[in-house]
């Protein structure tokens, strides 16, 4: 092992598979079960393999399945392939024009090199409570489309995560795509992330998407990152804001409620107390940006 003291190698060997269809991939995953790891961009998986935190006997590379990558407009929805690289996602015209909130969240991830490699599916399946794409996608009402050896299923992305590093994916299953409804007229979003450095995972983050009628909230989704075991949707805050005019007082009130509603922990990135105070500020800032935006629209 001494050869790898500086993470220079993947010491353990593995069998490599590069399926070219979803059916072939799910069959392989089903066959090898817990001994197999899916490889997408590898920015989470490869460091774990180098540090021998994970020692898969089989690695199934999904990058040779063309149908899993890309952003497409369909009749009722926008589809984002799970293997879409973050850099392709942030540069997609469909995303910059119709889903600016996603653009904002994705460009906050890592560095250019990381985004050239990493995929959106990898970000979600790694299931870090701090994963930056998750809050924005949940705020926009994304569905996760899952392919398995026997059938396909679709669930709300919100219920995809079951804990840190854990998802609903069962044996043989993979995340195939995300589908999002076209944003309604008057939709506005804001994403804000606080990290220790610009390259770090979030210490606390927030994504808000609101349907505004002038300065009044018609409907709203508020999702926080890194304050709970999974991305956290704050339904009580959403309800308290619905049909309300966004005034300075209403925004202050909402910020307080956000801070009271989360159950943060203390870890290397920040203390629970810090997260509580910061989340109030983040929520107020996000709502203020939404208000400013809808004022500009008149």
């Amino acid at each position: 092992m001494s050869i790898n003291t500086h993470n220079t190698h993947i010491v353990n060997g593995f069998a490599y598979h590069a399926p070219t269809s979803v059916a072939e991939a799910t069959k392989l995953l089903d066959e090898h079960g817990v001994e197999a790891s899916i490889l997408a961009g590898g920015t989470d998986l490869v460091p774990k393999m180098k540090q021998a935190i994970l020692k898969p006997k089989h690695v199934v590379n999904l990058k040779h399945i063309p149908e899993l990558a890309g952003v497409r407009e369909e009749a009722e929805q926008i589809r984002i392939g799970a293997l879409t690289r973050l850099r392709d996602l942030e540069r997609s015209i469909i995303v910059t024009e119709k889903l600016p909130l996603i653009h904002e969240a994705i460009t906050a991830i890592g560095s250019v090199q990381i985004r050239n490699m990493a995929t959106v599916g990898g970000n979600l399946c790694n299931a870090s409570p701090a994963a930056d794409s998750a809050q924005a996608l949940v705020a926009l009402g994304a569905k996760a489309n899952i392919a398995g050896p026997k059938c396909e299923r679709s669930i709300e992305l919100e219920s995809f995560f079951t804990g840190p590093g854990r998802t609903v994916l069962g044996r043989g299953e993979l995340l195939a795509s995300l589908t999002l409804p076209y944003p309604e007229e008057g939709s506005r979003g804001a994403f804000i992330k606080l990290g220790r450095t610009s390259l770090d995972l979030a210490t606390v983050s927030i994504a808000v998407n609101a349907k505004m009628k002038k300065e009044t909230v018609e409907s709203i989704r508020v999702v926080m990152g890194a304050v709970a075991p999974t991305p956290l949707r704050l339904r009580n805050v959403e309800q308290s804001l619905a049909k309300k005019k966004l005034t300075v007082d209403a925004i202050e009130e909402a910020g307080k409620l956000v801070s009271e509603s989360i159950k943060p922990i203390t870890d290397i990135r920040g203390t629970a107390e810090y997260r509580r105070v910061a989340s109030k500020g983040l929520a107020m800032e996000a709502l203020t940006r939404i208000l400013d935006g809808s004022r500009r629209d008149k």
Binding site: T8, G110, Q113, L199
Partner: protein, 156 residues
């Protein structure tokens, strides 16, 4: 398994194991030691090479993922007596001290200038944030990128 990679313009064949990383293949297999091993986990950018023109971290790319593709390293840019304008600019602006980070920075700069020929300072800092330098303090690096952009634009 046998793979073929076009390295700095020349196709080359290699026989590699599934767990071979691109950086080890470049440094130990091809003896191109420009790209450096810094952290090994994606945080420092010293191992940056271009894969089909885009900057990636060779310390986290499986060699298999480079099969059939173009890999560009610092060695492909210029020679001692005919430096690339980006290399010239880094030297002239004092953007190189110990030099450990330089190959990574130069490759990131090449990718940046091919996407955007005249970036602003904010765009330069954002694009290069995945590259760490423990010596220069970054100011001279930003100047070097600006100067390289000007050189590559040419007069007028």
């Amino acid at each position: 398994m046998k793979i073929t990679i076009r390295v700095n313009g020349k196709p080359r064949g290699f026989d590699v194991e599934p767990n071979t990383l691109l950086l080890n293949l470049v440094r130990d297999g091809m003896l191109l030691t420009g790209a450096k091993y810094g952290c090994g986990v994606g945080e420092c950018g010293a191992c940056t090479v271009l894969l089909d023109g885009e900057s990636v971290l060779a310390c986290m790319v499986l060699a298999f993922d480079a099969d059939g593709r173009n890999v560009e390293t610092i060695e492909g840019l210029g020679e001692y007596d005919s430096l690339h304008p980006i290399q010239e600019a880094y030297l002239e602006e004092g953007a190189v001290q110990c030099g450990f980070c330089t190959p990574g920075f130069v490759m990131s700069t090449k990718a940046l200038l091919s996407e955007k020929s005249q970036p602003t300072e904010t765009e330069i800092r954002e694009y290069l944030k995945g590259n760490m330098c423990r010596c220069t303090g970054y100011v001279n690096i930003v100047r070097a990128v600006q100067s390289a952009a000007a050189k590559m634009k040419g007069p007028g």
